[in-house]
């Protein structure tokens, strides 16, 4: 019997298995963290514009001015002593969302879906009382969820009435759609489906299913969980390749318009579909993540290069025409 758990002859193979080689990633056109930070985020996003997306109150006001649909704002709370107003604000409401204005990664968001005798019911079925909500508001104000622990503002907004056509694809809640927009051109899209393994959260590294979307049609391209391809949703058993995002064209135009609204050249837009109002901007991200490449099974670099090569005037054409060009360049044709 060998002392080692593996045969020595297998060691090189193990070493190969653990990671890929940089030149292979390069060939696949994968965008790395350093390249994203330096070439795209620092390159296209002027620092002074960050507050527009880092503070969701500002994003919302900006979007409303530009007539981009956003969830209706109910109220904001900006100081600890105003916490007492919470009861007054939510007294008459059955559903609403409490979120930090400067939160990131979906942290600190509480979705209230209904009421019962004891209090309010969260989207995951848990019943909470007013005290719980007030504590949550107080935590947000103190900066628990904001970048760097800075003082924050609480946003209370209307809960989105999700289009139920997508609900079968997600374990809890309804998936949102992430579109990366570079200089006003949508370059890649995906949706993240919460699973039991991801504890209802839509983070890929925690076990959510990432579903790449065809820019041309809004159809599912490829689904991955923990980096491996999947065909069915692990909890609902739904075939994933049947997913088609409704209002696709409208959604992409909305995403593309966020470029003019914010001036940020490299942007992650998170969009949800409301049953009545159609695509709705949930939040913007000036530092969108890289896992979208895993969900799409292709790298961002070739697409971004194409956008890099565009002239300044190309970025000023109307949003719906940019979307059409993007779809032509980056869409997957049925025959392909």
């Amino acid at each position: 019997m060998s002392l080692l758990p593996v045969k020595l002859s297998e060691l090189p193979a193990l070493a190969l298995d653990w990671a890929t080689r940089p030149w292979r990633l390069h060939k696949a056109g994968i965008l790395g963290m350093n390249a994203r930070n330096r070439l795209y985020i620092s390159g296209y996003n002027p620092r002074h514009l960050y507050p527009l997306v880092d503070n969701k109150v500002k994003t919302k006001l900006l979007a409303q001015e530009a007539e981009i649909t956003v969830p209706q704002l109910i109220a904001t709370i900006d100081s600890q002593h105003a916490t007492a107003r919470l009861e007054e604000i939510i007294r008459e409401r059955d559903s609403f969302v409490i979120k930090p204005a400067k939160g990131s990664g979906g942290k600190g968001i509480v979705v209230i879906a209904g009421r019962n005798e004891e209090g309010w019911v969260k989207a995951n079925g848990q019943t909470v009382d007013l005290e719980y909500l007030m504590r949550h508001v107080s935590n947000i104000l103190a900066g628990l969820y904001s970048l760097g622990g800075a003082m924050d503002v609480v946003i209370i907004e209307e809960r989105i009435d999700f289009d139920q056509s997508l609900s079968a694809f997600s374990f809890e809640g309804v998936p949102d759609i992430r579109v990366i927009v570079c200089r006003g051109y949508p370059v890649m899209a995906m949706t993240r489906l919460a699973t039991r393994a991801s504890d209802g959260k839509a983070n890929l590294h925690q076990g959510a299913v990432g579903l790449g979307l065809d820019l041309a049609t809004g159809r599912a391209l490829k689904a991955v969980q923990f980096g491996l391809p999947v065909e069915y949703h692990p909890d609902t058993g739904q075939r994933l390749d049947e997913l088609v995002i409704p209002y696709w064209q409208e959604l992409l135009v909305l995403a593309a318009r966020c470029y003019e609204v914010t001036g940020l050249g490299y942007l992650g837009t998170d969009i949800v579909i409301d049953r009545d109002k159609g695509p709705m901007l949930l939040e913007l991200n000036a530092r969108p993540g890289l896992s979208i490449q895993l969900a799409n099974g292709s790298g961002l670099v070739p697409r971004l290069r194409r956008i890099d090569a565009l002239s300044e005037s190309d970025t000023r054409i109307p949003a719906h025409r940019r979307v059409l060009r993007s779809q032509e360049w980056f869409g997957v044709r049925p025959d392909a």
Binding site: A19, T20, P22, L25, G32, N34, A142, G227, L294
Partner: protein, 508 residues
């Protein structure tokens, strides 16, 4: 995206400046690039004695100055009741003064010199004026005869001196030389200098000390220094070799006085004399440099070493920080390691340097674990953020206190070192980890604590490396090189090591 043109230029300039400063310190101040090399330091002590008789006394003693082969590190004087001044012009000397002194007086002057390999000619210096001296007959003609002969058999001032000294060293001595030697008696060095001056050769009697470890009650040895233009050389005088143990091992010669000024000049007292004792010691350059040059308050010596020793000790730590930060940069940009708080690992690593690695690691994990337990209770109390962190700080202080007392009671004095940890940083770590646990689960906590500790351990190894410590402390230039490297890292847009694992699916 295009890089601005001066970008690489700036980086290259920084690295070149850094390398230049390092080499400058290495060559000019002879600080070795590796630690552990020892250098020889001589501690020399001059004891001045005289009989005072109630009058004001002024005693001046020549001080040695930098010369080829030796660098003066520091000097000091000990002399109760005397005013003491170090005077640099016209010649470097120590001057003791007192209004009234009686009986036998003893004054001490101590100097430390660094012996260096660098030997060679004395630095160029203008020659002194020629002195005239008249001899009585028949000595005057003897002088003339000897000078005529050595002049004809020599080419320049130096060879003329050699010829003259050879004549005085010859056995048996020639008649004229014999005559003069008897006449000169104990005054021979000065008389020889006069003879040289007579021949038009600028020369002075200077005094040197042959260094040999542990010698006491030594006299200075007179020597003749001869100038040829700006250049000068020092010649030993026949019959004036020092009484050393073993003639082969003469030891290096330190010129105590270089310009022919009197070595000791005492006014207001009698029977003055000066005796020297010396000790040799080997010091690692690291220790040496702490003292080196601290007394050289030279306008162009902007080094840390011009600070008092105490402040230097502080800078030893501060100058290590860039190394730790460089390690963090490296691990985050090239490896992609996740840490809790960007530079928190550097501070933890600094604490490890104080505590030693194993103690530090155990202490850190104990404190953070205990902190997390307490914090989980605090999170139930619905406190405001600042108050909660303050409570965590107090808890961390309490935990550290408890661990110190416990380990002391159990006889583990190592445990007391836990107090070196930066408490505020630990508290923030506890707070962040606690939130992370609630939001992302224990797995992420383990990842981040593991990443932070790995970074801290690597930073610790880097910062605790004797060679790195030696370099950062002795060569300010290294900071420029580090800055250059960091700028270079900042422009790296390639993949991180962990991304190769993250995106492994693409090549399956």
């Amino acid at each position: 995206m295009k890089r601005p043109v001066p970008y690489y230029f700036v980086i290259c300039t920084l690295i070149l400046i850094g390398a230049g400063l390092i080499l400058h310190r290495h060559w000019v101040y002879e600080i070795p690039l590796t630690p552990g090399e020892s250098q020889t330091i001589w501690s020399l002590e001059a004891k001045v004695q005289f009989m005072a008789n109630g009058e004001p006394v002024r005693a001046s003693l020549a001080r040695p100055s930098n010369q080829p082969g030796f660098m003066v590190l520091r000097d000091s004087g000990a002399s109760p009741g005397y005013g003491l001044n170090f005077i640099d012009a016209p010649a470097p000397m120590a001057e003791w003064t007192i209004r009234q002194a009686n009986g036998m007086q003893m004054l001490f002057y101590r100097v430390e010199v660094l012996q260096s390999e660098n030997s060679g000619d004395l630095p160029p210096e203008a020659p002194p004026v020629l002195q005239t001296h008249e001899w009585k007959e028949p000595f005057a003609s003897a002088v003339r005869v000897i000078l005529d002969r050595v002049y004809s058999t020599s080419a320049d001032h130096f060879s003329l001196t050699r010829e003259l000294l050879k004549a005085f060293a010859a056995e048996p001595a020639e008649q004229n030389v014999e005559l003069l030697m008897n006449e000169f008696g104990n005054d021979r060095p000065e008389q020889l200098a006069y003879m040289l001056n007579k021949a038009g050769v600028p020369a002075r009697v200077v005094y040197g000390l042959y260094l040999q470890d542990g010698r006491r009650q030594q006299d200075l040895t007179p020597l003749i220094r001869v100038w040829q233009g700006d250049k000068s050389q020092v010649f030993p005088i026949p019959g004036y070799s020092p009484n050393l143990v073993g003639t082969e091992d003469m030891g290096p010669l330190l010129l105590w006085e270089q310009r022919g000024a009197p070595v000791l000049d005492v006014m207001g007292a009698r029977d003055s004399q000066v005796r020297f004792s010396m000790i040799r010691r080997e010091e690692s350059t690291y220790a040496t440099v702490a003292n080196t040059l601290s007394s050289q308050y030279n306008l162009f010596n902007f080094s840390i070493h011009s600070l008092p020793v105490e402040e230097q000790a502080m800078f030893k730590t501060i100058l290590l920080l860039p190394i730790g930060a460089l390690v963090v940069c490296f691990l985050r940009i090239l490896v992609g390691l996740k840490t809790s708080g960007t530079f928190m690992p550097v501070l933890i690593a600094l604490a490890f340097i104080q505590t030693s690695l194993v103690t530090g690691l155990i202490g850190f994990l104990l404190v953070v674990a205990a902190g997390l337990v307490l914090r989980s209770y605090l999170s139930k109390m619905n406190l405001l953020l600042v108050a909660r962190i303050t409570s965590v700080i107090i808890c961390v202080v309490a935990i550290i206190g408890v661990f110190s007392v416990l380990s002391y009671k159990f006889g583990l004095t190592e445990g007391l070192k836990i107090t070196f940890f930066p408490m505020i940083i630990l508290s923030w770590t506890v707070e962040r980890m606690s939130i992370l646990w609630e939001e992302e689960g224990p797995r992420e906590v383990v990842t981040q604590v593991g990443g932070s500790l790995l970074t801290a351990v690597l930073a610790y190894w880097a910062m605790n490396n004797p060679w790195v410590r030696h370099l950062t402390f002795n060569f300010i230039g290294i900071q420029f090189v580090i800055l250059g490297l960091v700028l270079l890292l900042g422009s790296y847009t390639g993949y991180r090591l962990l991304e190769l694992k993250r995106f492994v699916a693409f090549t399956r």
